[in-house]
């Protein structure tokens, strides 16, 4: 059983090496004529003003939080989806209760405007 995972492991190592070949080749083949202006930050030819480390909108973070919550919900659905035929009607009801609670949460979030991009 683990043999198939070993295949993936070998493939993973291959996938790490694979992009290095063109990177090294381009490093060897390409010209290297750096100038201070070329190495400067590209902002359409204008002088870069200020730092990029500014505070971003909190909305991005709230979406990430909501994502983590619903991702965990989906994770609970996975084992059930593979076995709902065996565990039957009882599990369907149990899962329905679980989902209703969380869909209630989604509706609440929606109504409160937390899914709104402002």
């Amino acid at each position: 059983m683990l043999a198939n995972y070993a295949f993936i492991g070998v493939f993973f190592i291959g996938a790490i090496i694979f992009p290095l070949v063109p990177l090294v080749a381009a490093y060897l083949l390409g010209p290297k004529r750096p100038t201070p202006i070329k190495l400067d930050t590209y902002e359409c030819g204008l002088e870069a003003v200020g730092d990029i480390r500014v505070q971003f909108k909190i909305q991005y973070y709230l979406y990430a939080l909501a994502f983590v919550i619903f991702d965990i919900e989906v994770v609970f659905l996975y084992p059930w989806a593979a076995a709902y035929g065996q565990v039957g009607l009882f599990a369907l009801i149990a899962m329905a209760i679980f989902l209703v609670i969380l869909v209630g949460g989604l509706v609440y979030e929606w109504k409160k405007g937390a899914l709104e991009w402002v």
Partner: protein, 170 residues
């Protein structure tokens, strides 16, 4: 063969964790943490728990890491310039706790594995088995999890309503 893979993966996991702690830049820390998560998922495969392997990647490497990256990036707090210690008791306490943990692990390692801890059935952690356990023995904890998640959703809404006045910047 399995032992060699285990040793390599474990070494990567420990190295990732140590590098995460030592690097001063929070984004570098996040990348090392990602490496650590991936290595731990491989350890789950070696324990014949493929479902946990996938879940480790989906939840920790896929979801929690995004949250970490967002916190760091959105606050612009990746450079650990402020190295002053806010809490003086933090470092001794952390050292004591980790010493206790190491001692416990050492004790268990010296005692050897419990005879009942050996994997006899390699299908024990297949998704179907997990579903069976979830809907029979652990049904109540499962439903309570829904309420925990609901509480988290309420938390998001609260953050939203209190943050919407301040969050007009992009």
């Amino acid at each position: 063969m399995e032992l060699i893979i285990f040793l390599i993966t474990a070494a990567v996991a420990v190295a990732g964790a140590v590098a995460m702690l030592l690097s001063l830049n929070a984004i570098h820390s996040a990348i090392f943490l990602l490496i650590n998560f991936v290595a731990i998922s491989v350890l789950y495969v070696l324990l014949y728990a493929p479902f946990l392997f996938a879940i480790q990647l989906i939840v920790y490497a896929g979801a929690i890491m995004v949250l970490f990256l967002f916190v760091v990036m959105l606050l612009g707090a990746e450079r650990a310039e402020d190295t002053r210690e806010r809490f003086v008791w933090q470092r001794p306490l952390g050292l004591t706790l980790s010493a206790i943990l190491l001692g416990l692990i050492g004790y268990i390692a010296l005692r050897g594995p419990a005879p009942e801890a050996r994997v006899t059935n390699h299908q024990f952690a297949a998704p179907e088995r997990i579903a069976e356990a979830l809907f029979t023995t652990y049904l109540l904890p499962f439903e309570i999890t829904a309420f925990l998640l609901l509480a988290a959703i309420v938390g998001v809404v609260v953050l939203h309503t209190s943050g919407s006045q301040a969050g007009k910047r992009e």
